[in-house]
Subunit: 492 residues, 2 copies
């Protein structure tokens, strides 16, 4: 979920200076219009890790907009007066009225997440708290409020560097509080708990936006631009169904995608490949034949650009298994029968029983990839799909499945070479169609969709493994190693 | 929640014979239209207590409609094959496609409820299961499915009589299984758990319909008529927002409302009243002054017809309390400031801290009473209000409040006498306005709204106390006794 916010997003000073005046002017105008028409209120939640620039961003928003119509609330620990009331009372007290904006620096998420990190509530209680939050936010949405939730993120490495830097300088040493050091010690736990909380509360009505917190210019403009775009759509189309106006699907400011940050130069030599492949296939075969495997099932999902090598990778896995134990499910367009059912139905029918091994060649992610990019479904449909898919995968996991998801990534140049090679080779020519060329033209749209898919569905229950696949040998070894390691972990 | 299904609803044979042919013809036509257009599927869930006619109703539906387009699934315990898959797999397998109907006799509710009754899962696990169900049904709704959920109910008395009758007759004795006897032994527990499950899963997209199961003719026609009405609206307006088509707000077939089943002849003599009032006020005063009261708060809600005596009852409670400790909050039309907030905001601001006592003279129930009847809000707004109010009240309860809700009920004749008396008495004349007379004209609409309000919001967390208020003395004593008893229970 946080992968896309760990790739070093930045915004140059020149671009910052160019963008900011425009954003400020537009924000002020829209704020004025909202103020006059009083059609809805804006509720902005700011959460995330320490030192990722939360309070600075709140300050900037107050600077860039008219602060008379913004109410900022730092919601720390409950006061004595607040504790004597039901927990949500303190938030209801300070909800902004229609026409105004409320910024919540710390919110109804803070307490449940902190409590879980420090073991003061159980996982089931965290889930219950998130469900209450979802109901609460849905009510706000139904009442017309525009809800924007920003989560500021730093990777563990970035956080560590930051603390080191602060502590080295006597001028800034005081800023590292004991509380913050305790939080850092619990970084992994905090990340895991936040990931769960964000997954459960990222709905079509109020999705979380994850913002990389390293570069101040990037984070300020990301938040302000997201607010601006969403607000503008909403003010201009007050009648249209609200949740098509949410900031899902906005490209990152610096046009830097997760997939571009991969190291495509990774390679494995042919000799090395053959040795490791043979060993991995043997090990995997033994593992799947072990009696313990009867207690679980394996579900592998392969997605990737055209010609990224999904088929080849799948064959190498199949080569390790007994044909009685695995099933490969190629996913094409839905049949008429499948169209008459909810979209997840055609995948449910192939979910294996315990003891079995199923490989999906393309999958339920078609909803947020091809269906989104080609406009086969409404934005509201693919927007709700993220949480529906997360729910679905949680059920698979609870039902005993080990779920492994692979995105095979190649560069645009590599794809071109492979397309050309396929056209030249008679027995490979069937693999390349006019549709592949058409898809290639939509490369950029797919890049947005894939990044968002990984951000919203790489979760504590089922993470994506992104595979640098320009070198087929490297890709296959990485995939087989992941499958072997994860299955072994699940069995031990 | 089950109150309205315990008042002995019936349908005469003559009316049955007159209605059924019409219903059958229309149902067949609509089913045919749905079959041709394939615009959505119908999912009917049948749940409830033993012996309330579940399976007979399923049989009737198959008889009255074209059974070729109905798939009936009795979902008992999971088979070995089903258990080897994730729990929802068995339901996905048998979802009806667009154009067809699926009747689920036993459903995704059965296992969580039974498990909770027999202590195999915790309350938190039941809640989690219900949340999963809500998400699942919401997805079905978003995918276009029409979901109808019927819960068949028998009161404990009715159930007891039924078992006795069956056991007496050697011909039918075999029908009382050991399982059924065990269920009856757990009747109270079963009722409590079902009430919670139904409350948590009664959403605007898929509300539960509670059907009294005693009279076969009544239950068959209720189910068929509800199906017919909902289906018709949906087929005729495929484009309109779906959840305005749900079967909320249909009057009972026999036009018999909960409020009409009250015994309005109950009386208390003046002498008796004065003695008991004095004692109750003294007891209540002592109770509220006890140090233990600092740990809780009391929230009293008074609703009722005009001139039902709310003011008089509230004054008798106030008379028992120290003015420093209570607050009376009269609720009128919302102010401009209140209109700019979500509708529950104006009540949250008056929620007392622990140790305090607040009386609401009218309340948040205005949303599902006056706002519904007068059309001040959209049907989709008051429909979602039931679950929003239940959420709200659960938060109050979790925050330490004892929440007591009173509906003061008088007959239409008694209201007329009181209105006339008020107009004749100079110092009471201010109490009667043209609006009161206008409201009186909508008596029948209010009766529907009140019955539905009680059905949908009298829950395991906060039950309604319906007060027969034709005799003011009787009403006041019943209210004070309830307040005293409930507070004492909460404090011990």
């Amino acid at each position: 979920m946080f992968e896309s916010a760990e790739i070093g997003h930045t915004l140059s000073k020149a671009e910052y200076n160019q963008r900011v005046p425009l954003i400020r002017q537009e924000l002020l105008n829209l704020q004025q219009e909202l103020r006059e028409k009083k059609i809805f209120q804006i509720i902005i939640l700011i959460g995330g890790v320490d030192g990722a620039g939360k309070s600075e961003t709140v300050k900037i928003l107050n600077e860039w907009m008219d602060p008379r119509f913004i109410e900022t609330h730092a919601m720390g620990l409950a006061t004595e007066e607040e504790s004597a009331h039901p927990p949500m009372w303190r938030f209801w007290r300070v909800l902004p009225p229609k026409g105004k904006s409320g910024i919540f620096f710390g919110s109804w998420y803070t307490q449940p997440i902190i409590d879980r990190v420090y073991g003061l509530n159980t996982k089931a209680e965290l889930d219950q708290a998130m469900e209450r939050v979802v109901r609460f936010e849905r009510m706000l949405f139904d009442e017309g409020a525009l809800i924007l939730k920003f989560w500021f993120h730093l990777s563990k490495e970035q956080q560590k560097d930051r603390l080191k830097r602060l502590k080295k300088d006597p001028e800034t040493r005081w800023r590292v509080t004991r509380e913050e050091e305790a939080h850092f010690k619990n970084y992994d736990k905090f990340r895991k708990v936040s990931e769960r909380a964000l997954r459960l509360s990222s709905t079509a009505e109020a999705p979380w936006m994850i913002v990389e917190g390293m570069d101040p210019r990037f984070r300020y403009v990301t938040v302000a631009q997201t607010l601006l775009t969403t607000l503008k759509q909403r003010v201009e189309n007050p009648e249209r169904q609200q949740n098509t106006h949410l900031p899902v699907g906005l490209p990152p400011l610096d046009n830097k995608y997760l997939l571009q940050s991969l190291d495509f130069s990774r390679k494995v030599s042919k000799k090395n490949y053959e040795d490791r492949l043979a060993k991995l296939q043997r090990d995997l075969n033994l593992l799947v034949r072990s009696p313990r495997f009867k207690q679980i099932s394996a579900i592998l999902v392969f997605e990737g650009s055209d010609a990224a090598g999904k088929g080849g990778a799948i064959r190498r896995i199949a080569g390790a298994l007994d044909p009685r134990h695995y099933q490969i499910v190629p996913i094409a367009s839905p049949t008429q029968e499948e169209k008459e059912q909810p979209y997840l139905w055609r995948f449910w029918r192939h979910i294996p029983r315990r003891g079995n091994f199923t490989v999906f060649d393309r999958s339920w992610y078609g909803r947020v990839l091809v269906e989104r990019v080609e406009g086969f479904c409404e934005p509201s449909d693919w927007m709700r799909a993220y949480s529906e898919i997360n729910d679905f995968e949680e059920q698979l996991k609870q039902g005993g499945a080990v779920l492994l998801k692979f995105w095979l990534s190649i560069t645009k140049e590599e794809q071109l070479l492979r397309f050309q090679a396929r056209e030249k080779t008679p027995y490979k020519r069937f693999k390349i169609t006019a549709e592949d060329w058409r898809n290639r033209e939509k490369w950029d749209d797919y890049e947005v969709a894939v990044s968002e898919m990984i951000e919203r569905t790489s979760t504590d229950i089922a993470a994506w493994t992104v595979v640098e696949a320009n070198d087929k040998y490297y890709a296959r070894i990485k995939i087989l190693e992941t499958v072997y390691t994860q299955l072994q972990k699940a069995l031990s």
